[in-house]
Subunit: 385 residues, 2 copies
Amino acid sequence: MATINFKRIAKQFGTPLYIYEAERIKENLSKIINSAAYPKSKIYFAAMCNNQPEVLKIIKDQGVGIQINSEHELYLAKNAGFISSDISFTSTGISKELMKKLIEESIEINLDSVEEVEKFCALINNKSFGIRVKIDKKIKINSNEATNFFSDSNVGIQEKDFIKIKNLSKKTGNKITGVHGYLASNLIDTKPFFEFGNFLVYIASEFPDLEYVNFSGGFGVKFSEKEKDFDFEKVLQYYSSLLHKLSKTFKREIILKIEPGRTIMADVGSLIVRITNIKNLNPEKSEISVDAGFAELARPKIYNAYHKIENLEKTGTKRKVYDIRGNTALQNDFLGQNRTLEEVREGDYLLINKVGAYGIVMASGFPGKELPKQILINKDNIDIL
Amino acid sequence: MATINFKRIAKQFGTPLYIYEAERIKENLSKIINSAAYPKSKIYFAAMCNNQPEVLKIIKDQGVGIQINSEHELYLAKNAGFISSDISFTSTGISKELMKKLIEESIEINLDSVEEVEKFCALINNKSFGIRVKIDKKIKINSNEATNFFSDSNVGIQEKDFIKIKNLSKKTGNKITGVHGYLASNLIDTKPFFEFGNFLVYIASEFPDLEYVNFSGGFGVKFSEKEKDFDFEKVLQYYSSLLHKLSKTFKREIILKIEPGRTIMADVGSLIVRITNIKNLNPEKSEISVDAGFAELARPKIYNAYHKIENLEKTGTKRKVYDIRGNTALQNDFLGQNRTLEEVREGDYLLINKVGAYGIVMASGFPGKELPKQILINKDNIDIL
């Protein structure tokens, strides 16, 4: 893995350039598969973090499922070879047309509202569906970057409405067989997952036809040296223990489902950029302009996200403090600020790491840019995406 | 203008759909042209707000110039028929390669740093260039949404470095003929423009070879009923009076340049979306899911921007309070919150207004969507973009 010559590849393909490493996808996935000690568990890759067709094909070949949130992702999933029974749909506000399609194609759906359950039950009888539940519990989140934590969200069905949806399904012979919950994004701390797991399993126990509990994702990635690694095993073992107990209660094996995305894809991708100008602000600090910014990687601006930035020229020269920004007219378009790097020169390549998740999918090209090139390195092959 | 049947068009082309009205581009541009009372003035359209080829062609046909900030925008500008003398480049961190190209193609450049001036002077002799100056003055901004105001920005050349760049240009026979400054985005209040104008003209007076002062943009758009209309005439008359005085000092006519974008394009564009689900939160309020969100229009999420939302079904029924969100798995993906609309039904079309600027250019399709369709209505013609 360590032998990729990023500089040579950047020269060959030009910058800005997203580089994905296929082997790492496989490694990350097997780590997760091995952590999922529970006998009946199922992993769905959260396609929203990276839906490049070649990436999806590799993930499919590892034998896991895929979690989708839109009709376009359904197309991408099928195109990559995922079969219906390996696709799970969880979103909000599903239209009647899309719901019909998902039912016809036998895609598992987790419904997000009473109104969606009504729609489902008006469309079909004697089918199974899951529900996405509202996490109506204050869970303390300790995170630099819980990017999608939103305690006032109306996403998910509330406990007070369970009677209503149970009656609706009973009347139509439909069964509520799954419970899905979402905590937050990118948490390193494992504690919130325990509280969240307890709550979700308590909710799940209210549904006599239960077949699965889907804990979704939220598993964090260590982006900066200051952070710890995320303890996947600890969380999955806790989920397992919860499901063992739940299985005993139900006197049958309940399936454990998770939807990792970032933990599979983040460190698969790097963004190589080139220094287009260096502005000396004062003797201690300079501002580097590079040929990528918000246009290619939105997370620093939108979420104030940290991505490590390395100088690919290992010059061994003195270290200096730099702000790194996109070379556009956007004033506050920083990829990183106050970063200490070996002294750089115009034309040097920088590597921005762990951008394989929520990188290219959030890129708009704004302002005035085309989307960056992407390549996938698979052993000795390089595929242009 | 009032006769566009948005509902019929939405049915014909499907949603989400960006609709642009060509006539409005022309109207907005002539308003600005007529406000620019100063005899030697030049308008450059800020391409970053909307760079759709057909839009650029219409703007070109009105006889104005174009302001670009990247190599890709140079390509788009030339492709739309703009000639070199109508193109002005202002950005940050220009690479040597791009600078060479801009010089070769005789594109006006406003340089952003001492280092860029060094690069320019190393590339060429006996040429003219402009400088982008740092607004090193605290200007009080009263705005709900000064989206790009960033007082600690290092964009622009500081006054303390003027001797340095003057010497650099003198040695190489190059001339500093233009001064460019940028205040902030989307200001309705005219006062900051006066202070800013004073500062810029004071700076400009330090350059004996001066030919133009470029006040750039920042001109606001009234997005909500609570706001006033932006008084373009007042600001342009003030800029004119400043340049009349400056021209007297220089004993020649100095050119007045501006770079409007939003004021030309915002109300040209509407985004039509369709209601995919309605979730009743309580008797007073519901949450509407629609088939567009952050994926198609990023401003509400990124800038907390307000866009008026109308129900295209004029049912005359009672009014209700709604949150309007994208139908994806993103939790906090709202296009508008606490909006009072005539009661809506699933399948109804909503119109999100004034999205012609910073709309499609910032769209990423995230999560899991394709980019929306766009059409341009030009009298009786409809072009699919």
